[in-house]
């Protein structure tokens, strides 16, 4: 009692053994925090390794440009002093440095890599560097003339301007390229030649096709989910299995099935010809184009819409609709004004899931998309595994990531992320 009294007098609460209450509270809280930390640690590390680091790696690669400066380490500092507007080629000392760099790079087999890097900016660099690498062993001063003799491109001012531009450790060139832009004669950024504009169109197509697929999934999934939510558990589970079936069939089986169905000599066309809706020599093109991609992707992504909708609808008591009806609303009004608003969280979750999956899909469009059904991710894949232009792939990927984040932000502003229910 006395102790408590003194404690209050001193304006500091203490526990029975005299430690201040705050200290002892903090200590017990710290232990709890530590425990919580240990519980999330494995997941945190997992996410760090499988998600966060790769994304950082991707962002890094989209601007990384060490190769030129590292390999041509004698040439690049000299190039910095060269005035690209002078109209003169770099001087002999720089060419001598280039010869040294080339000899070293050929021995280390890195000259080809620089050539590949610069070839992304301007066709011809690959060959130039390969050719020069083969002949540089026997090169003699004066170096400028010798280089120009190996390939007259070395006497081209544009080549030097480009090397100078791309000699920094970081570059925006990949983003420039990914936005259908390029560098003009004096290194100003201009739109690419119309014949070479491709990515913006693809971003746009990816966006609207994903939105369209999301919308179609919603239109198709809503009634199904509603039906499922009103049925008994046994029946609805059975039907859910049917909805989930696309998950369980292998990609190849699914693809062959679509082809068998949709191709010009396929079942649907046969049927239409037989019914007489289309003429035999005017069969519909439904696969290897946009239609094919849309049909196939809706098929695959539908479950991602059904599941959140179903799980939300199941929790809506049937008494809401009855209440609305008893209050004087006809079936339609009751559904639109009372039932649908209560499914918004499911709609939001389903749409975000489907949209984000759709925007990154590439296997299906690659298999059944043809040319008009190709999406931006197919190009990312192309640059990842065929052209090996990982910098451009990373830039395209980063832009896609940015688009998704912006859309997510807009969604949060309009609908509110808290309003989302995944089930």
């Amino acid at each position: 009692m006395a102790q408590a009294a003194t404690a209050i007098e001193q304006d500091v609460m203490v526990t029975v053994d005299g430690t201040p209450l705050k200290v002892s509270l903090a200590r017990s809280l710290r232990r709890n925090k530590l425990k919580a930390l240990l519980l999330v640690l494995p997941l945190f590390l997992f996410i760090l390794v499988t998600f966060f680091i790769p994304i950082v790696d991707m962002l890094f690669r989209s601007v990384e440009n060490q190769i030129v400066g590292t390999v041509l380490h004698r040439t690049v500092p000299l190039l910095a002093q060269w005035d690209e507007r002078s109209g003169e080629l770099p001087d002999e000392t720089l060419f001598a440095a280039l010869a040294e760099d080339f000899k070293e790079a050929t021995a280390a087999k890195t000259s080809g890599r620089v050539g590949r890097r610069l070839n992304y900016e301007k066709p011809g660099f690959s060959g130039l560097f390969r050719k020069t690498g083969r002949k540089v062993k026997t090169i003699e001063p004066p170096y400028r003339e010798a280089f120009i003799k190996i390939d007259k491109k070395w006497g081209d001012l544009d080549i030097w301007r480009l090397i100078k531009r791309e000699s920094a450790a970081f570059t925006i060139a990949y983003y420039v390229s990914a936005m259908d832009l390029s560098y003009g004669d004096s290194n100003e950024i201009i739109r690419k030649d119309e014949n070479n504009r491709i990515y913006l169109k693809l971003f746009w197509r990816t966006l609207w096709m994903s939105l369209f697929i999301t919308f179609m999934c919603l239109v198709l999934a809503y009634p199904i989910s509603y039906l499922l939510s009103t049925l008994s558990v046994a029946t609805s589970n059975l039907l859910l299995i049917l909805v989930l079936l696309p998950f369980w069939t292998s990609l190849l089986v699914r693809t062959s099935a679509w082809i068998a169905l949709l191709q010009q000599e396929g079942i649907i066309n046969d049927l239409l010809v037989w019914v007489g809706v289309v003429a035999n020599d005017d069969r519909l093109q439904m696969i290897h184009n946009r239609t094919g991609t849309i049909v196939a992707m809706i098929h695959i992504l539908l479950p991602f819409m059904v599941l959140p909708l179903y799980s939300v609808m199941k929790t809506i008591p049937p008494s809401y609709l009855r209440a609305a009806r008893s209050l004087g609303a006809n079936q339609f009004t009751a559904f639109v004004r009372v039932y649908m608003p209560n499914t918004v969280s499911g709609i939001g979750a389903g749409c975000i899931l489907v949209f984000i999956l759709a925007i990154g899909y590439y296997i299906t469009p690659a298999l059944v998309g043809g040319q008009s059904g190709t999406l931006i991710s197919n190009f990312i894949a192309h640059h990842m595994s065929i052209s090996l232009n990982w910098g451009l792939a990373a830039a395209l990927g980063s832009i896609l990531l940015a688009v998704v984040l912006v859309l997510y932000f807009v969604y949060d502003k309009i609908v509110g992320i808290d309003n989302m229910k995944l089930g």
């Binding site: 590949r116 491709i198 000599e265 990154g360 595994s385 065929i386």
Partner: protein, 368 residues
């Protein structure tokens, strides 16, 4: 967004996993991971090279890995991770050039590393201009050419110009969804001579001219991307004529007995061969194997199982009958004189420089 993340990381992980597996069993016997294209092609290598070699050298075990289609990307990922586990990789000549430029493939001295021809001709002479890169050990010559439906084509096509002639050959045609080969064919069909094709393509006007020619058939083209597609499209009757690898067409015609025939005019010859990854395992064992597997007899043997021409001149006379079908393989080879009236060897140097740019232009053209 998904893709790079997936690929960078999984490649590294897969590389690590394979490395771990290989290291833990290496004490028993030397395991060589050999990367190739899978399917009939790997099978022909298995029968002609791997099996006889393993029978003669019990200490070596050759393991097939079918990831050649993205071999270059995976090899680069392994190289970046500093853990190269592949002993040999099968690549097209143009990819071998890329790998060499990237510094992820070893340069080979063909004369010291490879066996001479039976008559003593050194390997570099025997392979001749098939050695398009110092890292490349040629294996086969394959051609990308045309197959057509004998029952659906109005008249049998006889020249490359017919492919672009919608009146003579009406109906859908299938081409690969890449500029390579198509650009050359467009110019050839437009009257450019074989010797001038790459000179013409090196000018902006030549590129425009090729696209203009392709424009004339654009809406009748079904574009294929995977090697199995064109034969399938032909078999399904979805297209009348399709470009394809000659080996695939051979299977469709001779093994599956489809009503398809070959049109060899201006076949595009391309090469496929081995590349030794830089920093790969068991270097000495790999080189010994390679010397044996690329000698004259072995290359001739492979042609018993698949209709691709051996890359050595000295192997050509030894090509015999198909091991299972018993048909004479000679007439099915791209190099057979009857088939090789007009041929063009893919311009590797040209494409090494221009593939990025022209692919972009080609894709833009497609989406217009």
């Amino acid at each position: 967004m998904k893709h790079p993340k997936f690929n960078l990381l999984t490649s590294a992980t897969i590389a690590a996993a394979i490395g771990f597996g290989a290291a833990s069993t290496a004490y028993a016997e030397t395991e060589l991971v050999v990367v190739s294209w899978g399917g009939a092609y790997s099978a022909s290598q298995q029968k002609a090279y791997h099996e006889p070699y393993m029978a003669a050298n019990p200490g070596v075990k050759i393991i097939n890995d079918d990831s050649a289609s993205d071999g270059l990307a995976k090899l680069r990922a392994m190289n970046e991770a500093g853990n190269v586990t592949w002993a040999l990789v099968d690549m097209t000549a143009s990819n071998a050039m890329l790998a060499c430029d990237e510094g992820i493939a070893l340069e080979i001295d063909h004369d010291t590393s490879l066996a001479p021809a039976p008559d003593g001709t050194p390997a570099s002479k025997d392979f001749g201009d098939m050695i398009v890169s110092p890292c490349f050990i040629p294996q086969i010559v394959y051609s990308t050419t045309f197959g057509y439906r004998t029952d659906l084509a109005k008249v049998p096509p006889t020249s490359i110009a017919d492919v672009f002639d919608l009146e003579k050959i009406p109906g859908k045609r299938s081409l690969e969804k890449k500029p390579i080969n198509n650009m050359e064919w467009a110019l050839l069909a437009d009257g450019v001579s074989g010797d001038d094709v790459y000179n013409e393509l090196s000018t902006p006007e030549g590129v425009d001219r090729a696209f203009a020619k392709l424009d004339t058939i654009k809406d009748q083209v079904v574009w294929w991307e995977v090697g199995a597609q064109p034969a399938q499209l032909l078999s399904d009757g979805e297209v009348v004529i399709a470009s394809s690898y000659n080996g695939r067409l051979f299977s469709a015609i001779e093994e599956e007995k489809q009503p398809i025939a070959m049109m060899w005019d201006w076949q595009m010859l391309d090469l496929d061969g081995w590349v030794v990854p830089k920093g790969g395992p068991h270097h000495d064992v790999v080189m010994t194997y390679l010397t044996w597997a690329t000698d004259t007899q072995r290359l001739a043997d492979q042609a018993k199982f698949i209709s691709y021409g051996p890359a050595r001149k000295s192997s050509a006379p030894m090509v015999g009958k198909h091991a299972e079908l018993g048909i004479d393989m000679g007439p099915h080879m791209p190099t057979d004189p009857k088939n090789a009236k007009n041929t063009l060897l893919t311009g590797f140097e040209f494409w090494a420089d221009n593939a990025d740019d022209l692919t972009e232009r080609f894709q833009a053209w497609l989406s217009q």
